[in-house]
Symmetry: C3
Subunit: 353 residues, 3 copies
Amino acid sequence: MEKKEKVIIGLCAIATIIAGILHFAHANEVLGFAVTAVALALLAMVVGDGTEQLGRRLGPGATGILQSGLGNLPELFVAIFALRAGLDTVVQYALVGSILGNSVLVFGFAIFLGGLKNGTQHFKSEPPRMIVTLMLLAFAALIFPTLTKELHTPAEPYLNQLDVIVAFILLAIFGASIYFSIKGDSAIAPQEEQMHSEHQQWSLKMTIIVLAGAGVGAALVSDWFVEALQPAMKTLGISEAFAGLVIVAIAGNAIENLVGIQLAWRNQADYAVSVIMNSSLQIALGLFPILVLLSFFLGGAVLTFVLSPLLVAALALAVLVSAFIVYDGESIWLEGLALIGLYCIIAVSFWWG
Amino acid sequence: MEKKEKVIIGLCAIATIIAGILHFAHANEVLGFAVTAVALALLAMVVGDGTEQLGRRLGPGATGILQSGLGNLPELFVAIFALRAGLDTVVQYALVGSILGNSVLVFGFAIFLGGLKNGTQHFKSEPPRMIVTLMLLAFAALIFPTLTKELHTPAEPYLNQLDVIVAFILLAIFGASIYFSIKGDSAIAPQEEQMHSEHQQWSLKMTIIVLAGAGVGAALVSDWFVEALQPAMKTLGISEAFAGLVIVAIAGNAIENLVGIQLAWRNQADYAVSVIMNSSLQIALGLFPILVLLSFFLGGAVLTFVLSPLLVAALALAVLVSAFIVYDGESIWLEGLALIGLYCIIAVSFWWG
Amino acid sequence: MEKKEKVIIGLCAIATIIAGILHFAHANEVLGFAVTAVALALLAMVVGDGTEQLGRRLGPGATGILQSGLGNLPELFVAIFALRAGLDTVVQYALVGSILGNSVLVFGFAIFLGGLKNGTQHFKSEPPRMIVTLMLLAFAALIFPTLTKELHTPAEPYLNQLDVIVAFILLAIFGASIYFSIKGDSAIAPQEEQMHSEHQQWSLKMTIIVLAGAGVGAALVSDWFVEALQPAMKTLGISEAFAGLVIVAIAGNAIENLVGIQLAWRNQADYAVSVIMNSSLQIALGLFPILVLLSFFLGGAVLTFVLSPLLVAALALAVLVSAFIVYDGESIWLEGLALIGLYCIIAVSFWWG
């Protein structure tokens, strides 16, 4: 284990403990919320590292499954606790916000910083395009319940059934995409070996201990995070929409994509784009439909694909714009700056929830 | 004439005769409807084969005109009878449904099956992109009356005039595209010679007999099909929207595009994409505007470009997604599967008409 | 100075003088309006030529700044006078109409005529794609206030604030794009040297005299043009929407892009696309946000990014379609014809304002 990794795990443990103390001491809600958010982001990073280590022992095929399964664990925990607390709006916005955070903000920073350091960057290989094409298809399927609700009144009483059908179709494509990755034709998954060649390998025992610890930590902290969310929103005067779209999304998902920005900085633009876009794709094909189906059994709020129309519009622009940039095959820092600007405009629009 | 072709023509004749018997015997409406639908699909195939045979005698330029003119004959007959029966909603949905059927369902199957058999498929040559670009332009023109109706109230009383203007502009582009194909620069038309090199040539007499027979058959069966449609919809509880979008569209148009799937299966991805997308383009540039203009003189319902908003949204997603896949230049079976999934979601949304 | 340029400057001076006479004689409003429109278009051309001449003395970096600053001077003057006259609708439509005029009409003519003369045209180099990608990003930012107003009611009272934020973000990207061009990495700006290699250089004195004269002329004529606009609209029965979208836009902006059509005709497709699209981009990133901010201080109508929904739809289609054509890298005259047809449909839709 490298020194940097040890530091992160240490910080993660400390943040988790402080979050726990603040939680049980019923301390100031904003402080408690901020600390749990930081702890959650760190735990997401550690779970990601642990999953990758485990994957390297089991081969590239297994890595895909593991990352799809374990990698989104923290987001899954937060969403489940939030749904049980009746915060389905927050969960919806957080899921779409994770996609926006990756496809616009993180992608923007990757292009901006990578371009400043390395000049015009090229991503010529096929994987980024495949991922973006699948993202477009997933997006088209995902927004259909909203379109149906807004534009086709006779179908309104059947939206729940449409949600279930869309969820099963998305999960079928998700399953097929995992099968596709395993079959060795690694066309859509970024090649892990090259990406992380510099990382030292952990011992198996260490890997399992870290993963188990981070998993339990994520479950606990997710609970505290959701509990702290509501009073913090009230105190800070933040709408549910903005809290989900920006804060929960960034804490739960986007931070772990710092690795994508790092790769762009090191001029590995192909891998950077694959990692960032794949993260969006997993949410659209996997996490969102699983939560929609799960929500029927959680006893809390029911999660639906029927989104706010503005959210669908923001998602459409994000998916389109990132698809064009990936299809271009070249990027300059100016495009990254424009993406960051676009993210700010989207975030501001939802500030007035 | 090959054995396979003889079998199809024989089946076609038998289906037409059975459809006639059921029609005049006033048999069970659902059975009668199903048989006429099958007969119609087979007639569409035979008309397609006959047109191609005639075209080969007259050179590649003439083939383009013939296919544009005769190839869509069955759809044209069905649409005319349906408009005279006041079923303009069915016709609208069937026209858009044909485009969706080609650009999403048939294209999806072509990519899916072609990819399973041949691995990653490439369509690098220019024709597919040209066709898709023209489809985008046709789509933009086509949806403008709907956009104007929904978003620009002052223009509402003038929508009929806008329809006529849009129809003339689309037909002008259609005429120019035929001229473009004839002029020998076969950039947008798939090269017939290579596509059908294995087919045996029919005698001219045989070609004309088959075409004439199939034409008359198509006219008769179209009439019976439309007459059987309304009681069948009532008995089966199917909405006009779904009947047009899925059933009429697939019976009248999509089946003949099995040839596109066949081409993909034989790893001729370029031709496959050209055939499938060209079929969508001909509906958008030719069949739809001709029917809009014709409908003023048929004495039945007037056909308009003003569509249901959800239909426009579905069309937008279909055109965009297929454009991106064609622009990518590579396809994997996973994308085909996702396209099929998307088609199912679209079809289901309109089930609740 | 070439003979052709002398003729244009002469015509320009004559048109300006006649416009002035008609203005002060309170002559027939339609005649006066037509003459001022012609004078304005000619002045826009002369300002463009003068700016380019000045730029050639100061180096390629400075040219970018000059063109961004001086090149849009006539449009800026017209917009300022129109806003002070309370014609904010006209200004909005004229700004979007300039983008549509460039990206659809002028681009269409460039492809159509260039294709007729030179066959299939290729634009393989990177600059056109960069410009189109930035245009997509600018478009996404630009339409967010409209989307927010139409789709997200809680934010309605804050639309003015959103306008200001969007304006500042667009201008920041505009500034960055100028910096990008100056830094010598001329990736997004068309290379002026090659474009105008055949033009003779003017003397510095001549350049300054022409520029100053044309600037003063533009300021005067803009004033007369706006004053003549309202009575002319009434007499001709033209809506504010159509007047802005088509007449003001073409007089103020699109004519100067004849140079783009010329370049396509000479088979310099890459430069043609860059010039035409760059002109759209400067309006979206520069002129529009500057006018939104300026309008708070002009004491007339306040300009907002909140557009008519149909205008946003037209803009979306224009940006998407032109992006796909540029990404394709090849064009045929048929696509140009279809673009011209699309422009006609858009213009007709707004005729019934």
